[in-house]
């Protein structure tokens, strides 16, 4: 029983520690933004890394999410004879929830873990200390470019994912159920408002920020060799994903009008 309470206590401490460190890193990053130097090139390199190189997994995630969602809703709506609503429902789900959240989780697994591993290795091999001795602030040089790149590129990926998700849904509706593509696309197009799409994009920008923050933060707090880097990487993905899922609820509540 005491072990259980101890375990629970430790978990609570770890969660708050993680959240606190991440918040501190965020504030420090914001402060450094007010003054030069700005590492523009590092920023573009990260955009390439996080954005362009994550495109394949986002493409697959979006197409299959759209497809399976169309499959499920068709099955359900057929019972009421309202399959014409499949297009609108898929469109809302894809743009508001599915693509922003699932794409972010995938990018967290891919890019957040890579950030933790890279920065963690730099910490344990004293490369971060070396940066400091050369009068370069690791937050300006390593963190800020990653934050900007991820917060900017994730909405771009989600925009592409939105279109591909809808297309994935149409594949099922048109090819599997032989329904009219016009009903599907018209339904989808007519229901979507500007806010549906932008709420997904705003959320994904915040998720991008969270991914990079947790990736960098766990990397900076790496202790002890290769094992430590492994732990940091796992923690980046677990904490980052949790942060995405939890903040998603509150952001959605905030953005719903």
């Amino acid at each position: 029983m005491t072990a259980l309470i101890e375990g629970l206590g430790r978990f609570v401490i770890v969660v708050f520690e993680d959240a606190g460190r991440t918040w501190i890193l965020f504030m420090k990053s914001v402060v450094t933004l007010r003054r030069p130097p700005y590492y523009i090139r590092a920023c573009f390199e990260q955009m390439l890394e996080v954005g362009v190189r994550s495109l394949p997994i986002v493409v697959v995630t979006a197409i299959f999410s759209g497809s399976v969602f169309a499959l499920q809703t068709w099955q359900g709506f057929e019972r009421y004879g309202t399959t014409s609503f499949v297009g609108p429902v898929v469109a809302l789900a894809i743009t508001r929830e599915l693509v922003p959240v699932l794409a972010s989780l995938m990018v967290s697994g891919r890019a957040g873990s890579a950030m933790a591993a890279e920065i963690g290795t730099m910490v344990v091999t004293e490369q971060v200390d070396a940066l400091r001795t050369m009068a370069v602030d690791p937050i300006e040089y390593l963190v800020v470019p990653r934050l900007i790149a991820t917060a900017f590129m994730l909405p771009v990926l989600v925009m592409i994912g939105d279109l591909l998700g809808l297309w994935g849904g149409s594949l099922v509706v048109v090819n599997l159920y032989q329904s009219s593509p016009i009903t599907y696309w018209e339904g989808a197009w007519n229901i979507l408002t500007y806010d549906d799409v932008t709420s997904g994009l705003i959320k994904s920008a915040v998720f991008g920020l969270l991914i990079a923050l947790f990736g960098c933060q766990t990397g900076f707090h790496t202790r002890g060799g290769a094992q430590g880097v492994g732990r940091a990487t796992t923690r980046a993905v677990v904490s980052g994903s949790m942060a995405i899922l939890i903040s998603n609820f509150f952001l959605t509540k905030l953005l719903l009008r």
Partner: protein, 254 residues
């Protein structure tokens, strides 16, 4: 003879990590142009001491000052300016492994000088030549041997022409011949660039060769400071045990 003003001064430095007290009131003074070598066993806090000099660590108590300015109380721009006058060689060189050797050496030049790209390239070639790595610009750190990494690290540290050099175990892990090459380089920088240096090592051959004075760190304090001759002839049992590498004596393995 009047005492020369202390260029680097460490006073009553105390530092603990969690419950482990590493430094317990260390004092050290290094004159301008002097080569100070800090010796001491593994895990006695030698690295911790030098990391305080360049502001990588902050003292729990005590002060560290360089050129009359307290490192711990500097504003970020002032600390930045101070660091530009310093170079540090890390134990495992700490080269940026995502960059080539040339980019590593050019790193500080590109950020802290207004040199043109051609001037940067010229300076990189010059310092790589000084450490005997001419033409290694396009190599990746992973392709270098331990000795080459250290020399590349040295080239990077001296690129900006520092007044102060800090060496963290410059010869550890190298064979005796490579170790001596590094010693020669350190001596060479002192002659040519007139740098003030603090080196930490447990390699006594290296210590005798490069030191003007040697300071022995033991149990979180500086046990004794003296010229290599004074240290060799010291009747302090701690010093005698360490410099002769005996298992028996007042120093116990931790």
């Amino acid at each position: 003879m009047a005492e020369p003003p202390d260029f680097i001064r460490v006073e009553g430095l105390y530092k603990a990590f969690g419950k482990v007290e590493v430094l317990k009131g260390a004092d050290l003074a290094v004159a301008k142009g002097e080569s100070m070598v800090v010796i001491g066993g593994s895990g006695t806090g030698k690295s911790v001491l030098v990391k305080h000099i360049i502001g990588l660590l902050h003292p729990d108590a005590g002060t560290v000052s360089v050129d009359g300015r307290q490192v711990g109380s500097l504003k970020r721009t002032e600390l930045s300016d101070l660091r530009r006058r310093m170079g540090m060689l890390f134990q495992y060189a700490a080269l940026f492994d995502s960059m080539t050797v040339g980019e590593n050496v050019a790193f500080a030049l590109r950020r802290h000088t207004k040199m043109s790209e051609a001037e940067v390239r010229e300076r990189v070639a010059e310092v790589l030549g000084m450490v005997g790595l001419s033409g290694a610009q396009e190599k990746w750190p992973a392709e270098l041997s331990g000795g080459m990494k250290k020399r590349a690290g040295l080239a990077r540290a001296i690129a900006l022409g520092p007044e102060i050099m800090l060496y963290d175990e410059p010869t550890t892990g190298l064979d005796p011949i490579l170790a001596d090459q590094i010693n020669e380089l350190i001596l060479d920088f002192r002659e040519r660039l007139n740098v003030t240096s603090v080196a930490i090592t447990h390699d006594m051959i290296s210590a005798y060769k490069i030191a003007d004075r040697i300071a022995m760190l033991h149990d979180g304090r500086i046990e004794e400071v003296g010229t290599p001759e004074q240290i060799q002839n010291s009747d302090n049992p701690v010093i005698q045990q360490f410099i002769h590498g005996r298992a028996e004596g007042p120093i116990t393995a931790q």
